[in-house]
Assembly symmetry: C2
Homo-oligomer: 255 residues x 2
């Protein structure tokens, strides 16, 4: 199975979802119905292969009732990198049972997982109110991505997963959010050294999905090494900037 | 006029405010009615001296119609430090008029200002849902506070303003938020070198108001210099930590 993103984008355009009941249309609340709508579209087309992240964990552990405890359950992924990206905490994984399954968590890595034949498509949905000028959203922690790249290299996991972003540009019309446009980009096709890291905002990589370049043509190993080079350079730069901006101007006041 | 914080705290305990209409009781939404309630209590007692920050700016500029433009308006404060803490942007201050006054902004420094005889009490309200274990809230940007301290020293402004925090501990009972307890602390009575700076969370100083020590007995100049010493030390530490945590572990992957 290969997800036909062009078809999903085509289907998204023009769709309408009811406005959320809560008063404000800021951030998370407004995005949620769009996010759920993509999940439904994908589930309708790729039945049994598409999950919310927590649904996949529940599915995987339910299907393998003999794998008990955190080690046995994490082994089901057959991938240290995916364990790092997708699993819940040790304690929670240890205690998981059919009677007390996982629920959705806001800081899960993936909104949607498409799993087929041991290959994982991580899909994250970013919604954008196009009637407003908005800051680029938080995409993923730059540190988490650095750890991911290190694990990719350590375990030679060059073909176990991909990371995709879908941007939904919506506008309020009456009582409905109307999807005016939609965009799909692949993280590992973007030039890693152009990714913007906002150190003060919890080290988040930030971009509008539509603006993500797709010019990188190297291997995933090359991507991982180039990203790590970029991350280390940026961390060094931030380390210096802290001294320039927050130490030097104030030293004269300290006796 | 000196605000009797003990009396305000006494009056707050046991008071009830209607639950906000929006569904969730998280963060900002839940706090707002409590915050407004303190404003009302203070306004009832200290009529004409208590303002929301934007109300004070509107009051000050309205009362001085001949002061036109950003420089003349900022001069009304008679304090570069208070201009830094309380004024809006240059452009907004320039364009202000009686017909288009300021409205409340979420990132204003003060929730409440009590102004008497050229002395400013900045009062910030922090609300806390005591049925939950919550992280200490963002208090003020550590950088903004460093700039404030530098201005205090540069302009010898040792007696023009004070910064106060009020914590309201509330619990939901039926359809009402009930104030179970309340606490008042003064920033410049806290030991500056104990303030926790969360660098990754936009450099915010974070604490639960009730936990703020009040052991500092030195002058405001001494407080400002000790805070700047602490800020510079912490910036240096953060600068080193970035190298230890985000550079060294990843250098081996970079050819």
């Amino acid at each position: 199975m290969k997800i036909d993103y062009n078809e999903i984008i085509y289907k998204l355009k023009g769709t309408k979802v009811p406005k959320p009941v809560s008063g404000t249309l800021s951030g998370h609340a407004a995005g949620e119905p769009c996010d759920k709508h993509v999940t439904t579209l994908l589930k309708n087309k790729y039945a049994d292969k598409v999950f919310r992240q927590y649904e996949y964990l529940n599915y995987l552990f339910t299907k393998n009732p003999d794998n008990i405890g955190v080690e046995a359950r994490n082994a089901l992924f057959n991938s240290p990198t995916l364990v790092f990206l997708l699993s819940r905490g040790k304690n929670a994984t240890d205690k998981w049972s059919i009677d007390s399954p996982f629920e959705e968590k806001q800081n899960d890595t993936a909104d949607i997982l498409a799993v087929d034949n041991g290959f994982y498509e991580i899909i994250d949905i970013k919604t954008r109110n196009i009637s407003k000028t908005t800051q680029p959203p938080n995409i993923i922690s730059a540190y988490k991505l650095a750890q991911t790249c290190a694990k990719i290299i350590d375990n030679k996991e060059y073909d176990t997963f991909d990371i995709n972003y879908i941007e939904i540009d919506w506008e309020l019309e009456g009582n409905e959010l109307v999807c005016k446009d939609a965009h799909h980009r692949k993280l590992f096709k973007a030039n890693p050294s152009d990714l913007y890291i906002n150190w003060a905002a919890a080290m988040q990589i930030q971009f509008h999905v539509v603006n993500l370049d797709q010019s990188f043509t190297g291997s995933k190993e090359k991507w991982a090494r180039e990203y790590l080079k970029h991350f280390v350079e940026q961390a060094k730069k931030r380390s210096k900037d802290l001294i320039e901006k927050f130490v030097k101007p104030f030293e004269k006041y300290i006796k």
